[in-house]
Symmetry: C2
Subunit: 361 residues, 2 copies
């Protein structure tokens, strides 16, 4: 069995011990005589799996009792619609545009009402997080929307806007469970699982209970109503049961290695190795403002497309997977989610140094 | 490793060889150095997986070129909304009500327009499929809706209504790939994967291309538009990649055992063992009209709740899982999907005979 260092922006690496356990339990989950894939979601055994997953997630994030945890389908893109369909009662909302995904969410909200852009970093190709101090909220806005970590551009919020009581909605997909998160700052947090948490096909939503009383917009399908899922423990219909099981294994693993403080320390260590080298390099440059740097997605380039090309070709041969930057920005991107071992980052830096030594004049 | 006979109505048994292969490939898919769960959905390797899955499904069902195959999320319940949102341009549709799920689909359609019930078997607790010969279609109806196999009640259509050119929509969830299906009879077929195909969290949609030109209703979220998924090869957003991979393994397995004619012959053999015994039994009775019997979900009872109870208790002890009927109907239900081995059905009949011998006076 070969395992490689996979720098994919998502779906991404999972802890090896989780994959081992999943493989071991594939034909017989804990003596049940069946795979978790084959199990009725109404069975006691499966109820135990989803309950334990939720309890462990609550432990990890210290989620207060007045927040519901939902395991849904449809990814972040479905949330782009569910957020306005469930929260935009005045048909107005404020959006902070820090990249591709925030923009997509803003575009989707136009189907349902009038989203306003109250800040954007598009002027500098989304290479920074806008100043959050003097945002002008629209008085009738139903919520304020942000995307905490911007996978494509490699930026991350280091603080949150003070929305003066307005509901703050956070697309935390690509930094979820990479560090502690103060849930109480938000009305709603959502995250696709396929970065730090589990396989694609599971979306986690954490929603403050009082928001469930807001009537959804007319024409909202039953399954796009948060309250339906909250009232039915995420089992109004058959949930993505196997994916939730894998998420649960990851939660257990994260608790086992010391919880999110320990995870954060490890992620900071990994990111520092890469950023420190980039900052000292003569040919590689980081692409975003230092104060806005993501711990998860490290974007860099040489400035010369042909050199980037040569670097990426060599990287591929050396066994580093998925290093090209997103097609909209080019260059390189190393996504170093929780499950990327420190050895992977070190090996990448070793290769970068070797490449630099060969190419610097 | 223990494996049991699991008569769950879904999620349900999967072929053991598929589970073995999934376990073997969990940490390293064909030398890629990663799990399919960890793989970028934009990678060549994953594109190969989804392309092969689609090609194999097309082979199995002989799907004509003018039909698109979509791998979606959200289950049948999401389709209950997507069908009207995408096809109900006059806001009118005709529904044939043969059970719980057809009724749910009908109720959901009310959010978007005026569905009409043109036939129903609710008068006899959904124990038969209504006569399809003299249905009165509503002239302005945009489509006619049916649910081919009724999981809870154990009935199945043996022919299809002639809709005189109107689009026929088929929820085929619980009989999909259990026998050949003439795709050309339908405008749209959908099926949740968790019966015969794969893990919950994947929904397969087969849609005739010309239907993609119908403009969705205003207010339809991007991800609930069939055309978006068709135009993007089911990858507008991150698909439920691992689930699709498992579906692909199942398709390959079904082709390997001879395709759907062979699958059907096997299913008929299994169902006959069970139905023949029930028909000859002095204490067990089938609950539906013989002409409407499902090959997948075999519903029966003794007529005495206490005796049912005793039977179910003994069955559980004997290692038969998930035999109680749906809570809305009671009694017993043996779901014998493709992956249930003949030995499982025979073992159940042996237990039933033993129970009968002990309890018949």
């Amino acid at each position: 069995m070969k395992r490689i260092f996979n720098f994919s922006a998502g779906p991404a690496m999972l802890p090896e011990s989780v994959l081992h356990q999943a493989a071991d339990e594939m034909l017989d989950y804990k003596g049940s005589g069946m795979s978790v894939m084959e199990m009725s979601h109404r069975s006691k055994t499966y109820q135990g799996i989803i309950d334990e997953a939720e309890a462990d997630l609550r432990k990890l994030l210290n989620i207060p009792a007045n927040y519901k945890v939902l395991f849904l389908q449809g990814g972040g893109t479905t949330q782009f619609a569910m957020v306005p369909m469930n929260l935009m009662k005045n048909r107005v909302a404020d959006y902070i545009i820090t990249g591709h995904w925030a923009k997509k969410a803003y575009d989707e909200a136009k189907i349902f009402g009038k989203p306003n852009i109250i800040a954007s970093s598009e002027d500098k190709l989304f290479s920074y997080i806008p100043d959050l101090k003097n945002l002008k909220y629209t008085p009738e806005a139903d919520y304020v929307y942000m995307c905490e970590n911007n996978t494509i551009f490699g930026t991350k919020y280091k603080s949150y806007p003070d929305t003066k009581g307005k509901i703050l909605v956070n697309d935390a997909s690509s930094c979820f469970l990479s560090e502690p998160l103060d849930v109480t700052k938000f009305g709603l947090i959502f995250a696709g699982a396929q970065k730090n948490v589990g396989p694609a096909g599971v979306t986690i939503v954490i929603i403050r209970e009082d928001l469930l009383a807001i009537p959804p917009l007319p024409g909202t399908p039953t399954l796009l109503q948060y309250k339906i899922h909250a009232d039915n423990g995420s089992m109004y219909n058959t949930p993505p049961a196997y994916g939730i099981y894998i998420c649960g294994l990851v939660f257990k693993y994260l608790l086992g290695i010391g919880g999110l403080e320990a995870v954060k320390a490890n992620n900071e260590k990994k990111a520092a190795i890469l950023y420190n080298y980039i900052d000292s390099s003569k040919i590689f440059k980081g692409t975003v403002e230092k104060a806005s740097r993501s711990l998860m997605n490290v974007c860099f380039r040489t400035g010369e497309p042909a050199l980037d090309e040569a670097f990426l070709e060599g990287a591929k041969k050396a066994g580093f997977s998925n290093l090209p930057g997103h097609r909209s920005v080019g260059g390189m991107r190393a996504s170093i989610y929780n499950a990327m071992p420190l050895a992977g980052v070190q090996a990448l830096v070793d290769y970068m140094q070797k490449f630099e030594a060969e190419h610097v004049k």
